[in-house]
């Protein structure tokens, strides 16, 4: 088993060192802050909450090919919690899909195509729109199934919000994916415990969430969603241990990285004024050294 893992690691894409990932996380949080300030965007808390997951995915996990538009031969990623679009845009820029300037030029600009929620083919690497919650996992199950039918080893990754798991379709797909043994389907839940209008345990409690997925036949991995060693290791573990569909319940902090936003519902909605922006940049910068 270890030999297989080693061979796989050797063959796979460049694996980014954890320290480098952490530096990158700070850089991208600052980029999110800067773009959000300049374009008066909401959803900063959501973007900060899942940026570490995205970096781990794109630097460590996903098999993609920038030069090849044939997505059939690649892993599929779908940001089902579309309101964290900016986190995805800056990640795609960092990993070479587009330039960072593209985001500044197009994000929330009239007549351009980078909205607060992603649209189809708004950037290379984004095939479908998202923004309405609850059915990303079912599309991911379809892609995973197509990959199997087409005899490719590629997988489908879907990033869900915690509030999104209120939706019934998530649980229809949870049943379906296990029934059809979709071991190439991976759900990641950005579990920051805050949804649109309250705490998840107050609005509609998801717990016991691990048990729920377990009882639906999924392999469950509950980890700290900001810890790169755990994120990388868990993704790698999923790659080699094929046992039905997998879910990573990533315990995260909404607004992670800026103390005044952390665990605050308001970080979902607040637009940055100049003072908050400067304060945020200073705090994010300070962590780099």
């Amino acid at each position: 088993m270890q030999v297989i893992l080693w061979l796989w690691l050797e063959k796979s894409n460049f694996k980014m060192h954890i320290l480098k990932q952490q530096e990158l996380a700070k850089k991208l949080r600052m980029l999110i802050a800067d773009i959000s300030y300049k374009s008066k965007a909401h959803h900063i808390g959501s973007a900060f909450s899942c940026i570490d997951i995205l970096i781990s995915l794109y630097s460590n996990t996903l098999d993609y090919n920038l030069k090849n538009q044939n997505y059939d031969k690649q892993d599929w990623f779908y940001l089902s919690k579309g309101h964290a679009a900016l986190a995805l845009y800056v990640t795609l820029a960092e990993f070479g899909f587009i330039s960072t300037n593209t985001i500044y030029d197009r994000f929330l600009v009239n007549g351009k195509n980078l909205g607060a929620h992603p649209d189809r083919f708004c950037l290379p690497g984004i095939e479908l729109p998202s923004g309405s919650l609850g059915y990303g996992l079912s599309i991911g199950a379809g892609v995973a199934m197509a990959h199997k039918l087409n005899d490719t080893n590629h997988r489908a990754f879907v990033l869900l919000g915690d509030g999104e798991c209120n939706e019934g379709t998530i649980w229809e797909t949870a049943m379906f994916a296990n029934h059809h043994n979709l071991d190439n389907l991976v759900a990641i839940i950005d579990y920051n415990h805050l949804q649109g209008f309250g705490r998840t345990d107050e609005v509609l409690d998801l717990e016991p969430l691990s048990d729920k997925f377990n009882s639906f036949g999924w392999s469950v991995h509950r980890i700290d969603g900001h810890d790169y060693s755990l994120l990388n290791a868990t993704f790698n573990k999923i790659l080699v241990s094929k046992k039905g569909p997998s879910v990573i319940i990533a315990e995260t902090v909404k607004g992670k990285g800026y103390s005044k936003f952390e665990n605050k519902l308001s970080s979902h909605y607040q637009v940055l004024n100049v003072d908050t922006y400067k304060d945020m940049m200073n705090e994010l910068k300070g962590e780099i050294s």
């Binding site: 599309i139 199934m145 039918l149 087409n150 379709t169 229809e172």
Partner: protein
Amino acid sequence: MRNIIIKKLIQATIKDPDIILMTSDLGYNAFEPFREQFPKQFYNLGVSENNMVGVGSGLALRGKKVFIYSILPFLIFRCFEQIRNIICHNNLNVKLLGAGGGFSYGNQGVSHNTTEDLSILRSLPNLTIFTPGTHIETTLAFDIMMRQNGPGFIRLGKVPNMEFHPREPKYLLGDGIIIKDGYEIVIFCIGNIIEDVMEAANKLDQLGLNTQVVSFITIKPINKDYIIKMSKSFRAIFTVEEHGELGGLGTAISEILVESNTSNTFFRRIGVNNKNLLEIGTQKYLKGINGISQQGIVERITSYLNEK
């Protein structure tokens, strides 16, 4: 109609390993031959329409030709947002087979019958909406749908015992097909109401109103020029549909006529009133109380012409 489609689908699937048929636990006594012949291309997803439409979209995104079947209101109304955001917005090659347009489900009640589907589906870009009425129209619709690479919807009713086309007609997408010649008034219709319309037209002929009947296999696209041209040859135009008057064929035709600025031809829609239906009954009964039976069509046309 369902059996015609499944036969055609089996023929197509023999040559095409990418075809996939999905159902949400429906299709008893119809889909068994497909399931037996192509077990790996048939999926019964259980009673979960939303998941089915999502999975179908994912499969289509990766090159599969996906046919999704359910009872029409379950498929269209429950999954409408997914059809809008994912299937139509992305022009995915997903074909929606909605069983039981109009009052086809008879006394099964309000959950199964639908007279609102075309209103909302017409609003979606990229979607071709097929409304065949006879055996030949159904095969024609299927063949066109198979040639298209994009979303399609077929409203599946019951095929009348009689075939009104003597042979497969020459057909241009969006045009109507004349199934009865006439020179005084013309009735445009869609779907299996064709049978009542033909009976009504013969009755109107006897009453001295020589009536032409035109059937539309698609309600979208619909050929503007064809309708404007035809409107000029008659003294009155009527639309008849087993659907609400609000948003269906009648609305589509009236939009064209009003905007043409050239048509002064008298026009009235004949369909189902926009009110709750609180009675149950057979398809025939429900058509009767909604004024779209043979008798209702004749009465409404003659009375509209009298008030003219």
